[in-house]
Symmetry: C2
Subunit: 460 residues, 2 copies
């Protein structure tokens, strides 16, 4: 049994719906289908979700919603009409949307927004089920409440409740193809609550874990996950297989295939994930698995992200001061700042964090507290840093992986502001000034994927 | 004006006293002399300090102290007689020691031990002053109370009180050579309190800062500080000059020339330090300064130390959990464990600490708390680690320093368990399994001090 999730671009228009139907019909194991709201059809197009956000504004302000509702239903109609789906489904969508607006009349703003946004996925799932039925496939729209997706009451940031899985398991007993809208679940009080960014991936992952699927297929618009950002290195090597841990490290820094949390449910159940292309389903895609044989390729990918800064703190004999690091982190926590890493020397410690959290006002306040409460010799911030991750299972057992990396930086003439290796068995992290990041990533790609390096020595 | 400190081996016997006198007389700037207690004359010899510890035991137990006192006075006598110093000084030493024993009758054990241990330095200073006087040098024994060395009331771990410096500055007005015993000061209640390990270095450093010396000379039994441990690499390069920061990083991991705290007073005043050899005072020694020109030698030394362990903690989505690191450090602090470094990945963090603090009982308790209080996926400890520090001002601005280091590890076939660079501008730290440390240090020494490295590439 497979769970297949189709992202926004895979369900953006009639032609994409046809591809999805073909994919579903090609494999009888594809029993649970998760769909996003219709995505952009062309660069300047408006996504369904953005139309719904505008509608939510109107509802909140008590304005006239006729225009926005018309625009939304038209978008579904353009798909349904081209596919020749019975217009009864459009009437249902319009009716459901108007009922929703009325029911939300006195709802608080965050819940209202969640409920209206979620309708984008919800109505698209109804349309997909209707289309599949018309093609002669036994297909059923299944609402997340019926499926059993119960979540915490955190609008825009729902987390699945453990009791969901037992209910979801019952979906195995249903016949036909089950079409479930992505992106949202229900609180125990019956309210619609959305997941955070990438929410349809989360729905698919929860369902795959719940029905104990053999495979969770994630259909998107690329043939595979690449070993490096194609914007930096053209036509990079495709990754055939990587582990959850590798995926997690890559997605942290610049690889936006999956949202952080999306893989947690399948990770915990050990269910493999396959990233595939709706527009080229023959391509083998990339498998994300619990374990892989990494003997011949210790490095699987290189990711990078900028927008970091580094707070340096110096204090003579810091090393002998018990509790120093903990107190420093406490100051940041008090100020609501989350940090990424804390490399330390003997009498100094750095805190790497995302720069958007640390404007000049925050800097002034935090530095004041650090100076007063920790009596340091100096504290300063270095801005405009980028982090580069070299990722691969088993690289920590491979002598020479670090040597290749540092040599790549030297060859690109990019200075290393930071190296962090030692905790993760799956990655090595490097900090550089943001203007050196592209040069460095290219050079790293070359040493790991393109070249043989030979080193010789002579006495001086 | 110079302050010169002579360590235990420099004042162990009459021949050493003669060398010290020659050194003092060779430079009229050497106005303040700090002496340790007599050290070992040969490998099996008993140090004065150890004799005094036995005496303290006797005093505490109310036993007969005649034998131990005789042994101690004899040791001074063997020096005095060979130098032909008037035996009046020996009578004074014996009298002072017996008076001390009587006065300590009801003292608590830690204070008693401190007062008796301190007499080793104190009496040696009296003897040195007497010897210099006999040679026709105007020399005065100056007790630390008279000098103005006032300290916190922490037996065995005294810290200098800031008000000391004003009083010490008055020593500048005194005539002749002032001989001050190292290792101890006085509490504001007038009790003798000793410094921690390496205490005579601390006395010299405090005095140099107090009199605003032009130079603090630290006489020991080596020609210089070496760039690497001579037990690992025979005849290593001597260091001509290094900065306080470099010294501090080196002394942390295996370079035992100075105790951690000893340099703080001179560091704060910017007074240069020269490490010289009593047995070869013509050798230029090693200068420790505030700043050096590091363009031609970014790496100044390589240090290593073993006896570390690494606690690995894994938790999926740890990165998104605010306060995780702080809470983890709090558990360790509660248990009285001090840690060295905390390298982190996305969903994992390591804590490097000295292994002697983490026996199996502590491990069980700490792991239990980490599992219960932080709900982690896994926690385990890796034992038997060594840390290697590559130290040098300006290495963080030098592209390729890291590449040389990692290549050295690869060439020695030693796997890197940890790399930590990013906070200190003066060092890079590497963690390896203890059995690889010698191979790795040799290889590092070769790449930084012995060889040219050439790297070439070919397409694969």
């Amino acid at each position: 049994m497979k769970v297949a999730k189709f992202g926004g671009s895979s369900v953006a228009n009639a032609a994409q719906f046809q591809k999805v139907a073909k994919i579903v019909m090609a494999d009888p194991e594809r029993k649970v289908i998760v769909v996003s709201a219709p995505g952009k059809r062309f660069k300047e197009d408006i996504k369904m979700t953005d139309m719904l956000i505008s509608l939510a504004e109107q509802v909140k302000e008590g304005g006239d919603t006729t225009g926005p509702v018309r625009q939304i239903v038209d978008r579904y109609a353009s798909i349904a009409n081209e596919l020749g789906v019975d217009s009864a489904i459009l009437e249902r969508i319009e009716e459901d949307l108007n009922d929703l607006i009325v029911s939300l009349h006195n709802e608080e703003p965050t819940r209202l927004l969640d409920a209206i946004k979620a309708s984008g996925e919800d109505n698209n799932a109804k349309l997909m089920a209707a289309y599949l039925s018309q093609l002669g496939v036994e297909a059923h729209y299944v609402n997340p409440k019926e499926a059993g997706i119960f979540v915490t009451d955190e609008p825009g940031n729902a987390r699945v409740l453990p009791e969901s899985y037992k209910k979801i398991a019952e979906l195995r007993n249903r016949t036909g193809v089950l079409v479930v809208p992505g992106f949202f679940g229900y609180s125990t009080e019956g309210k619609v609550i959305t997941f955070s960014r990438g929410g349809s991936d989360i729905t698919g992952s929860i369902l795959a874990a719940g029905v104990k699927a053999d495979l969770y297929e994630n259909f998107t618009d690329v043939d595979s996950i690449y070993s490096v950002n194609p914007m930096i290195v053209p036509n990079p090597k495709e990754i055939k297989e990587l582990t959850y841990r590798e995926m997690r490290e890559l997605s942290y820094a610049g690889f936006s295939v999956f949202h952080d949390e999306a893989l947690e449910p399948v990770y915990k159940m050990g269910i493999p994930v396959c990233v595939k292309n709706t527009n080229n389903p023959q391509a083998p895609g990339t498998y994300i698995v619990a374990k892989r044989n990494h003997n011949d390729s210790p490095v699987v990918g290189i990711a990078s992200d900028d927008g970091f800064c580094n707070i340096h703190v110096d204090k003579y004999l810091m090393n002998r001061e018990i509790g120093f690091g903990r107190k420093l982190l406490h100051v940041l926590e008090d100020e609501g700042i989350s940090y990424e890493h804390t490399p330390s020397g003997i009498d100094n410690i750095s805190v790497i964090l995302r720069e958007h959290q640390f404007d000049e006002d925050v800097e002034k306040r935090v530095f004041g507290r650090i100076q007063r409460e920790l009596d340091v010799d100096s504290v300063y911030v270095e801005r405009g840093l980028a982090l580069i991750m070299v990722v691969g299972e088993g690289m920590n057992q491979s002598v020479g992986v670090a040597a290749k990396a540092t040599e790549a930086f030297a060859r690109a003439n990019v200075n290393l502001e930071m190296i962090n290796q030692g905790s993760s068995e799956v990655s090595m992290m490097f900090g550089v000034k943001a203007d050196g990041v592209k040069k460095a990533v290219k050079s790293l790609y070359n040493v790991y994927f393109n070249e043989m390096m030979t080193i010789s020595y002579s006495k001086i």
